[in-house]
Symmetry: C2
Subunit: 436 residues, 2 copies
Amino acid sequence: MRKYKGCSKLVVKPGSTQDVSKVLRYCNENSLAVVPQGGNSGLVGGSVPVYDEIVISMSRMNRIRSFDGTSGIMVVDAGCILEVADKFLAEKNHIFPLDLGAKGSCQIGGNVATNAGGLRLLRYGSLHGNVLGIEAVLPDGTVMDDLSTLRKNNTGYDIKQLFIGGEGTIGIITGVSILCPQRSKARNVALFGLESFEKAQQAFRVAKSQLAEILSAFELMDEQGQSMVEFVNQRTRPLDSRYPFYCLIETSGSNPEHDSEKLEAFLEHVMSEDIVSDGVLAQDETQMQSLWSWREGISECVGHWGGVYKYDLSIPLPELYNLVEDTRERLTSAGLVGDGDTFPVVGVVGFGHMGDSNLHLNVATRRYDKEVEQLLEPFVYEWIAGRNGSVSAEHGLGLAKKAYVGYSRSDTMIRLMQQIKTLYDPNGIMNPYKYI
Amino acid sequence: MRKYKGCSKLVVKPGSTQDVSKVLRYCNENSLAVVPQGGNSGLVGGSVPVYDEIVISMSRMNRIRSFDGTSGIMVVDAGCILEVADKFLAEKNHIFPLDLGAKGSCQIGGNVATNAGGLRLLRYGSLHGNVLGIEAVLPDGTVMDDLSTLRKNNTGYDIKQLFIGGEGTIGIITGVSILCPQRSKARNVALFGLESFEKAQQAFRVAKSQLAEILSAFELMDEQGQSMVEFVNQRTRPLDSRYPFYCLIETSGSNPEHDSEKLEAFLEHVMSEDIVSDGVLAQDETQMQSLWSWREGISECVGHWGGVYKYDLSIPLPELYNLVEDTRERLTSAGLVGDGDTFPVVGVVGFGHMGDSNLHLNVATRRYDKEVEQLLEPFVYEWIAGRNGSVSAEHGLGLAKKAYVGYSRSDTMIRLMQQIKTLYDPNGIMNPYKYI
């Protein structure tokens, strides 16, 4: 989003945990600020050295340390790229419990540090459940060796949890132990058109009930976003007609026939009950990827005109899409949305992980514009606070959300978090100016 | 196990979070030690007031606060009994993601405080992933309101995780928000006899691969344990012959026919490949409960002769049962195991959650005996430490394991844990003499 620019003069690339320890101890003793950096794919400025911080890049620590086929437990260096780990696991008939658009460049240490959510959370749960152990280096150089490969270990406070989503502010993750599920033999992808958000919710409830244990994704897209993907990518739509909403459903299971039967029964139900208006079922891997590209392509296509304001929000499901409508109405009635160059806003788009109540609100613009910004903020955050939502569902706080944490967290919680920061990083050298 | 005796002269039964806050503030100001108490079903003395601590019983705070049928998110008071919550959810077509033998008396606050594992962990994962929010009162009376009902909320350190498994040493949990899965329409239970632990591991690998998404339990029992259940309960065995090992498998899925087909294919495979020697499949709910009773009955039956030494351990799967054999050999060669009253030990039994690499080692005795104790400890803990296992997989530390945490945790980790304890409870009033 071109919001933050790195200003560091020094990048350190440690090759081992001991290297990280030496670097941090030196920086701590000399009060030198550092910014840990993984694949640099974050959206909130968390990995950007905004002043003159020293960048500690984890890219050289990229080994897969071990994998046990019976338990499915894998141990990796923090700098291992997500897609590399997932491809390794595919050969072993397993799957990484996390998947996201940036998989080709993001690193597992960064995923854990930002508590990434992504496309498989609905099925496999969050990193707080799947990460079994963490090796991290504290600011004073202490190596925290909590790289357990046990599924259960009730011996004291689960300290490593503070590092999951800690965004590199209390230490640097150097290794991760994670529970990886069996890879499913069968996969199906379907895409539907629906007349209303109410119907999308109905479809979700039916999918949860009928697809149950094989449901692996339930994604929402609106017409505005799909028309942008069509325009930018110049591709033919998968459905003949247009609908206000679309849902993408993925199933993953161990028996192709059983999965197809379940999916057919589901389709029959939602079609005959008029819950969905039209639908298409991918016939092969290529078609699956093609359908997914209508969902995954949104993020990039909305940036086509110059700028995007991106919000990643948790909202109670019944109200999830109201925010998109309210925002669109707000910008439209201010005369800022239109087709010509005089209008800063091209369109207001909503999509996201409906199965997790996680909305991505994207405002596509022709340029970054103060008036648009002032209409969006704090409006969006106040709207969220009024519904007990979260101002950052899966992207984290970084620099972008630092000022807005109070909309999702009480003063008490913020004070408790600041205590943790002070406890671990009394000199304040770890990723300063950000987070809490 | 008659190991600890409560000595408190005062039990306080707060009716609200505000009550808890007032009690704790008073105790903190006056340096009065307290012990939070749930259903009192723990096995490590964590809820016992060993000196003259004031008991804070959560039993009056037992409401179900809310449940949302679309997301499956439930909010309950800490004192709500697990079975009450699960029965409430059954009516709503959902299931509590945790199940354990003590469900009729244990309380959800206690489950969360001890990070209970139990029978459904293999399928639904740990409380670190399923608990979405916690309301707790800190020792100084501060109410920590982190009772989020969002599946995703990346706004700062996930402080509540410290309370999951914190065993009431940094605050008292008063409310819990938890993600509950859909209840499965179909359930099947099967029990097998196997010739060796190697074959039990093979069966587990096949079950993971073929039953995959419908596998909901994989439990291990040995012949010694089953013969005790037979003797104490005077019941006919489910299988005609005896085998060194037995496995109980449960499946839960959304389509009864599909599940039966998967299970039949699995059975055919493990029988034809000589992995299992014999097996029985429950034909109805009564038979399911009957098969389960051969697993769930062990814990109680081993206590029939007077005393039991119980160990709850995580061990890498290939070596899981070796500890039982080594312990049996050790006690037998010391002349302590036999049929007459002169022998203190009746038998050495191993069983547990094989799917989670979690072994319950039980030594059934006629009386508590110093010689037996000295042969068991620190032997068992040293054995575990040598294999990087955990001296407490799911029972917690309490008083029983306090002295042994060093076998599973490094000095660095223990120091980090002590920092947390000091940060939250500087006066040391919360469940003292225990834990870290």
